[in-house]
């Protein structure tokens, strides 16, 4: 039987792992910030670095977000 994985905050992923964005738990303002960077549901993100801020790889681009913004991104690890 396939194990169903639950969505976790991006900050809980291990460095180097990849996840699919499930949802963004934040108000419209923060959501929009993340959208403009290309982070929205269905998108795959790789957590490249965790400190001093989160560094994400999305397709061919790199994006940095701080932990408080990163917490609002819920992902399913793959």
């Amino acid at each position: 039987m396939r194990k169903i994985k639950t969505a976790v905050p991006l900050t809980d992923l291990k460095k180097g792992s990849t996840g699919t964005v499930k949802e963004i738990n934040a108000g419209w303002d923060r959501k929009r910030k993340l959208f403009t960077l290309g982070i929205f549901p269905g998108e795959q993100v790789t957590l490249v670095q965790k400190n001093p801020v989160l560094l994400l790889k999305l397709g061919y681009s790199f994006v940095a977000v701080d932990h408080s913004l990163g917490k609002t991104i819920k992902v399913i690890e793959i």
Partner: protein, 582 residues
């Protein structure tokens, strides 16, 4: 008379709009490798088949529903002014993230051209883009370019010319459709991008790619920053620019060869006032001309070169990321790193670039810190060179300056209502700076420096001369003596503080002269350098502060800067008399 046709260059930040603007127009806009370089509209002329059109380069915008001040500039412009043609620039590799804006632009109904730039980088990443299919899907003209190398520019010019002259009915009708929201637009963008992109080849892993991770590493990144500061700022700007270069140009050329010549030429002058104006200590030749050309210019030039290298390589966003946590204790976040660092180049330009910050609270704090304690290039270079021989003095100066900036930022964060918004930033790839781009930018900045400095140097010399002749100068000097004495500084420094009000670098240049004459002790040197670093922003910067922040906040900033400067001078003097640090 026919209304002049205007072409707008729009797109996300850092996709190469300004490079394209520089290639197709007769004007120059600054190009750097970080998002948010252009914060105001630049205008130029585009010539095609003897016809002339206006081109406007705009600040990068993510979407047509803006959130930062500089994005608003672009969006308002698109809404208000009727554009004859909109040219959207996108980055080839990240096409999927950029087509959403294309859909929005289509909805506005302006004629639109899509430029897929940085094709060279896409190829390096092993990507192939089918632009023909993209053109069919969107039904607007699509041009592929590698603007930084000049590839595809002629083709682009042709397409722009053709579209401008096309009759309305001959134009392709863009496949505009309305979407219910950003999410849906992004989905559609992704779908189209997938259909036109393929990656048959493997990506090259370049040296820049590996270096990139080193510069962002929490530990190695700081080590790398140390190297950049030591070799770039201290060795190149401080020791070479402000030391070797100034010694040669000011010492060997100006004072030993040029000045005697001027003096000989002036022997015929009998009018005493004219002789005063030209040859007095603060006259045109000894002060204005010499400071701006022989002392400050070489420093500014070497600084701008070093700085352009930082900007064009893409190092600054990485620094922003590293310093985010620190900046949050000042009520700012990593995004403020770039405006504050720009302040090391020129405070006036930096104040303008605070527009890239989100809240008015952040903008106020950033402008205050810029006015207070971010020394501009010329001042910094001179101080580095003055203190270069005395590492301990340099350390005390640097430490106090950073401490004061941090304390002020910390207080602001505690006192001012509001919060600091979250940090988010795109990190562009590290790019090898192009020599021509580097030189062009440095040249543009030097030209700009000259334009600002020349009228001012005349003015300052004349004001000092009038002040001297009328006795006002003496009275102001008398007024400055008590605060100077409180800081343990000799009265000779009074005129230097007056100069410092006109331009930060003149104040530093005056200090440089006093030091050469050996008039200051170690502690005095530190106190004077520190007070001058903190002292008033120059006139040009202050005008910009008022423009961006309004007169009330402007005045508030001015008053707090004066008090902090003298207060800090006083404190450091006390500390240095108690502790034998020097």
């Amino acid at each position: 008379m026919q209304k002049e046709k205007t072409i707008f260059l729009v797109g996300r930040p850092n996709v190469g709009k300004s490079v394209i603007f520089n290639q197709i127009s007769d004007s120059y806009a600054v190009v750097s490798n970080y998002p948010g370089t252009t914060v105001d509209i630049s205008t130029g002329k585009f010539k095609y088949n003897k016809e002339t059109f206006t081109v406007k380069d705009t600040p990068g915008a993510y979407s047509l529903t803006p959130f930062s001040e500089e994005e608003k500039v672009t969006v308002t412009l698109l809404k208000e002014k009727g554009a004859a043609l909109v040219v959207q620039v996108v980055e080839a590799k990240n096409l999927d993230k950029m087509l959403s804006l294309t859909f929005q632009l289509m909805e506005t109904g302006h004629p639109l051209i899509l430029v897929v730039n940085m094709m060279d980088e896409a190829a390096k990443a092993g990507l192939v883009l089918d632009l023909k299919t993209l053109e069919e899907k969107l039904n607007i003209p699509v041009v592929g370019t590698a603007a930084a190398r000049g590839t595809g520019i002629n083709e682009l010019k042709k397409v722009i010319g053709r579209e401008l002259n096309a009759k309305k009915k001959d134009r392709k009708k863009s496949n505009s459709r309305s979407f219910t929201g950003e999410l849906e637009r992004q989905r559609e963008a992704k779908k189209i991008a997938k259909e036109v992109m393929s990656s048959p080849k493997r990506a090259e892993v370049s040296f820049a790619y590996k270096l990139s991770f080193l510069t962002m590493h929490p530990l190695w990144g700081l080590f790398f920053l140390g190297l950049v500061l030591y070799y770039g700022l201290y060795k190149f700007v401080g020791v070479f620019g402000a030391g070797v270069l100034v010694d040669f140009i000011d010492g060997n050329l100006y004072q030993e060869m040029f000045m005697p010549l001027l003096t000989r030429l002036g022997q015929g002058i009998t009018l005493p006032w004219l002789k005063q104006l030209l040859y007095a200590d603060y006259g045109l030749f000894n002060l204005g001309l010499r400071y701006s050309m022989a002392v400050v210019l070489p420093i500014v030039t070497s600084f701008f070169l070093f700085f352009s290298l930082l900007e064009d390589s893409g190092y600054l966003p990485r620094l922003a990321m590293l310093l985010d946590k620190l900046f949050k204790t000042f009520g700012l976040n990593g995004r403020s790193v770039i405006p504050l660092i720009l302040g090391l180049g020129c405070g006036t330009m930096a104040v303008m670039s605070t527009r890239t910050l989100e809240t008015s609270r952040e903008r106020f704090i950033a402008v205050l810190l810029l006015a207070l304690g971010i020394p501009c290039s010329a001042q910094l270079g001179l101080i580095l060179s003055i203190l270069a021989g005395q590492p301990r003095a340099l350390a005390v100066w640097g430490f106090s300056l950073v401490l004061i900036l941090a304390a002020v930022g910390f207080l602001c964060n505690k006192i001012l209502p509001g919060y600091h918004p979250e940090f988010y930033m795109e990190i562009p790839p590290l790019r090898l700076p192009h020599l021509t781009g580097l030189l062009k930018k440095t040249y543009a900045r030097i030209k700009w420096y000259m334009k600002e400095v020349f009228p001012l140097f005349l003015l300052v010399s004349i004001i000092m001369w009038v002040g001297n002749m009328s006795g006002v100068l003496d009275r102001v000097i008398l007024m400055l003596l008590p605060p100077l004495a409180a800081m343990g500084l000799p009265g000779e420094l009074a005129p230097i503080f007056i100069l410092g009000f006109f331009r930060r670098d003149y104040g530093a240049a005056g200090l440089y002269d006093l030091v050469k004459e050996g008039l200051l002790s170690g502690p005095q040197l530190v106190v004077a350098s520190l007070t001058l670093s903190l002292f008033l922003p120059c006139i040009a910067q202050f005008i910009m502060v008022v423009k961006e922040q309004g007169p009330v906040r402007g005045a508030l900033i001015l008053v707090s800067v004066i008090f902090t400067a003298f207060g800090a001078g006083y404190m450091v003097n006390r500390v240095l008399t108690i502790l034998p640090l020097l």
